[in-house]
Every structure is written in C-alpha cells, then in structure tokens.
Symmetry: C2
Subunit: 312 residues, 2 copies
C-alpha cells in the first residue's frame, strides 16, 4: 500500500459518488422520459450528535413518474456524528463517534413485469471513546424483488453478482447469498422480500483488499439489473397484475419500516427523512387477507419466496 493514498473515507466516498453518476445516467437512458431531480443536503444532527464531529451531507437523486420508473432514488451520503447508544449495541462496537458513507438505491418500476431493485454499499468507521483503534468496515448488498417470477432474470441477477464476488474470494458469493436470504425476510409473513442477491456487513481487517471487492460489487449492479429492465419493460400488463404489484409493494414497506437496518440507522441518527424514505414505493395497497389463486403466477412467486432458491 502506498503511504500517499488518501484516507479510506475519502476514497470510498469518491467511489460511491462516481458510481451514483454512472447508475443515474444508465437509469435515465433506460427510462427515456424523466431525469433525476437532485437535492444536496447537509447533515445537522440534533442534540447529542451535534456536540462533536457532526456534519457532512448527501446527494439525493430521485426520479418520478418516468416511462419505466414510477419512482426511484439513487442516493449518496457521507455523514459523521455521535453513534447512538442503541446503534452501538446493535453493531457490537464501543460508544464513540462514527463516520458513514455510502450509496443506496431503490427503483420501483411502473410495470409489474419489471422487478424492483435495491442496492447499497457503505463504509463505516467508529472511533471508540475508550481510545481503542479506529474501527472501519464495509457493508452492502443488492437484491431483486420481482412481482412475477422469471427464473432467467433471477439467474442473471445472481450470476452478475457472483462474478464480482468470485474475482475476489470463492467463499464470498455463497456466504453473501445466504446472508441475503437470511436478511431480506419479512419475518411476520414468513416470506423473503424477493429472490435475493448478496448481503454482507462488518467486512473489516483488510480494508485495502476489501475495497476493490466493494467497487466490483457496486459496479456489478450495472451488469445485473439494466438488462432485466430492457427484457421486461415492454411486456403488457392488466389491472389485476398492477393490483398484485401494489399489494406486494406493501410487503416491501413492511420490511423496510419494521426490519431494515439501513432505514432504522437513518431514522435513529436523525438522517434526512426524505432521502431515507425515498425507498418507499409511490403507490401501495393493503388488502385484508389477500391470497393468490392456487396455481396462478402470483402463487408461484409466493411459493419461491417461502423457500430460498440456489439460482446459480
């Protein structure tokens, strides 16, 4: 490693912002109608968090009412502050100051034939109050949430992520695929959020070795998702299929608000609410006791969500 390199927090932030630019350009190309609206914001934590070292901000980019994307956000942020006690316990780190930067995206297509997608890559640092050394780690993940199951799409998505993983460590993909299957679960429904992908956290101890993996995994989004959009975006759908999508989006909301660590981290660290909750779908329905008809394509999806599949 060269001693001249910038600190990891700067290099990670620069990578995430560059990736944001490239992904937004590709999403605008796919959409063909709408452009992202950009909001730059400053992090101004209230109370305890503002006492020291608090600051930073983010670049929120949201697309809405597009031809392909009904709503989507591709956000970056880099913030520092006091780590809330609750978060420190959950992360199993000492109390102290934190720095967090990352990219987070969720895209909700208009057509029920095009899956919703999520991707997040992040770098965190905690400087414990007790004087122990700076603790830094990467985390991230990407997962696909179809409304109708298309096995080729699921395979393609997993294959692209696997390739990025395999270039660094043959154990990454199997481990991170399983972690994803375990993480993105709507526990009270006994269902996965979608067909999975990868999820990893607390990748620490070898930051210089892990950063290239995180870069490849982030870049893999562009190979994993846009081809699926292009395959499905022109497929016709009817009102019943749209209604199914709206009901399934309710499950997405349930996961994000009840279980998602990133969302809870954002709410608890008093992040910018509109940037955090850009992940919520534009239109959602909750229908009491909605059950897909046995043997239907809707029932086929739910069956797959109840039991993780080895896609590749």
């Amino acid at each position: 490693m060269s001693g001249n390199q910038a600190p990891m927090r700067e290099r990670a932030k620069a990578f995430f912002e560059d990736l944001q630019d490239r992904i937004c350009a590709e999403i605008e190309r796919l959409d063909g109608k709408q452009k992202f609206r950009e909001d730059r914001w400053e992090y101004a934590p209230s109370g305890e968090a503002s006492l020291r070292s608090g600051g930073g901000g983010g670049i929120t980019r949201v697309i809405a009412e597009g031809a392909v994307f009904e709503k989507g956000g591709v956000n970056t942020s880099a913030v520092a502050g006091r780590l809330p006690e609750k978060m420190a316990q959950r992360m199993k780190v000492g109390e102290g100051d934190f720095f967090a930067c990352g990219i987070s995206l969720v895209l909700h297509p208009r057509s029920p034939h095009v899956p919703t997608v999520h991707m997040n890559m992040r770098y965190l640092e905690v400087q414990p109050d007790d004087g122990s050394p700076l603790d830094g780690w990467f985390g991230g993940g990407a997962d696909l949430t179809p409304y109708y199951l298309n096995r080729d799409d699921a395979k393609h998505f997993h294959q692209a992520l696997k390739q990025a993983c395999d270039a660094h460590d043959p154990e990454h993909y199997p481990r991170f695929k399983q972690w994803c299957d375990e993480y993105f679960v709507v526990k009270h429904r006994g269902e996965a959020r979608g067909v999975g992908g990868i999820f990893f956290d607390y990748l620490r101890g070898n930051l210089e070795g892990d950063f290239p993996f995180v870069q490849d995994a982030g870049n893999a989004f562009l190979a994993a998702y846009p081809p699926i959009v292009e395959r499905r975006m022109h497929d016709a759908y009817d009102d019943a299929q749209r209604q199914w999508q709206l009901v399934r989006r309710g499950r997405y909301v349930e996961f994000n608000l009840v279980y998602d660590r990133g969302t809870l981290f954002g709410l608890e660290t008093k992040g910018r609410i509109e940037s955090i909750l850009m992940s919520l779908p534009p239109h959602v329905s909750w229908v009491y006791d909605h059950q897909p008809e046995p043997g239907s394509p809707e029932a086929e999806l739910v069956a797959v969500l109840r039991e993780p599949v080895a896609w590749v």
Copy 2:
C-alpha cells in the same frame, strides 16, 4: 366486590366482544352499503410460546369497499402464551406467561373529509415465573387522524372522551390526553399522527375500580366518532384532496410499523398477521419531499400536528 364474580379476564373479554358487536352495528349503519366480514381464528404460537398455556384466538371483522369506509377492522382477541423476553423488558415485568384480551379498531374512510380513527382497549395479565403474584392491568386509547383540520370535530372527539374520563377521576383526561400526544408521534417526521385523544397503560392496582372506567372509555367511542362521520361524509372532494389523503396515510403506516407497541406486540408474539395489519390503509402513496403549499388547508393541518392543542 363479590367473591362470586368471574375472573377479570373473562369479564373483560365479554365486555370487549359486546362492544365489538355494538360498534360494528353502528359502522354498518353509517356505511349503508357494506357489512363486516367475520373471521374467527385460533392462536397457535410457534416455538417457545406453545410450550405452556398458549391458546385462545380472536374475532376479526373487516369492512372493505364501503360507501363511507374504504377499509376498516374492528377486532377482538383473547390469547395466552409465553411473554417474549423482549416484550417483558419493554413492559418492565418479569418473564412469565401472559394473557391478553382486547378490542382494537381502525377505520379508514374513503373521503378525505372524514377522519381516520383508532381505538384500542385491552386487559393484560402476566404470571411471572419467579412465583410473584399475578400482575394485571388495563391499557387503551383512542385517537383521531383527520386529513383536513376541523376544529369542531377535534373538540367533539376530545369532549366525548373527557366526559368518560371525568366520571371516574378528574386527573384521567389531562393525564391521558398528554400521554396520547406523546405516544402517537411520528418521531422522524416531528409530527403527531393526528389530533390525539387519550392513551393510557399499566392501569393497575385497582382493577375493580378501573374496569368501569375502561368500559366507559370504550363506550365513549360511539359518542365520539359517529357524529363526526355523519357531519362530513357527504362533503365533496377533488383528486388533489384525495391525493393528500393518500400521502398522509403513508404517515399512518410509518407510525404503525415503526413505533406502535400494539403492532409490535402482535408481530413479536406471532399473532394473526392479517388481523394485526388490518390497521394499514387500503391505498397509500409516498411522494418524495411532498410539501403542502404555505397557507393551504393542508399546511394548516401539518402546523397543528407539530404542536399539541388543548382541544377542550
């Protein structure tokens, strides 16, 4: 008190089920089009909870696609099982077996001029493992969530609840009104869920004295809410007002899934998911950075939600 009286758990359950009947009849009368669908279910907790004493069930009644009510549920349940450790800590009681019975209702009217309403009354018992005496208490509350502020409606709702409180203890209403203002807060938005009402919990130590209050507070729903529905249900509204309602319903979902104890209790004790989540609105929108126009009726509502009002 007569030694011949049935145990509180039986009397409470009987009261809640009778109240459910009376409320459903009144809601059907108001709606004029749809009737409640009833689902009776049995509580079959999995894992640890099923080891001892688990059982019971509930009566879920849901109305949908009505003339006045787009979706609503008026549920009762009476279940027993093992108290999850997390819940015991939150309730500050010892680990042990629990019994819980109650009535819970949420009504989502179709018109943005008719407020959403919630009411819950419950009786809980915990039998700690350490042999200490049975611990029983009442809890409950009722709150009103308008989409457009009507001060007379808010006053009427509070007045009806205050009357039920005042008949038992002059300190009840001020205390429970404040508790409500503090409880029904969408913290990350810095907004109350609505114009409040009453909220109370851990009413213990004098069950025979508190039960009549809980009965009066439950019965007060029929004086508090239906007259507001009758006043507003014929008011005309346009698409923009409907859109505002859908966005505000998103805040309702955010509160219920992120903060509401009753919802979390249900999810964590593996209650019947469809009965717990009947509280979620039928159609909801999340619009990025939605801000009401300054000086508009929408902005007037939000201003009131940011600062609790002494309605009576």
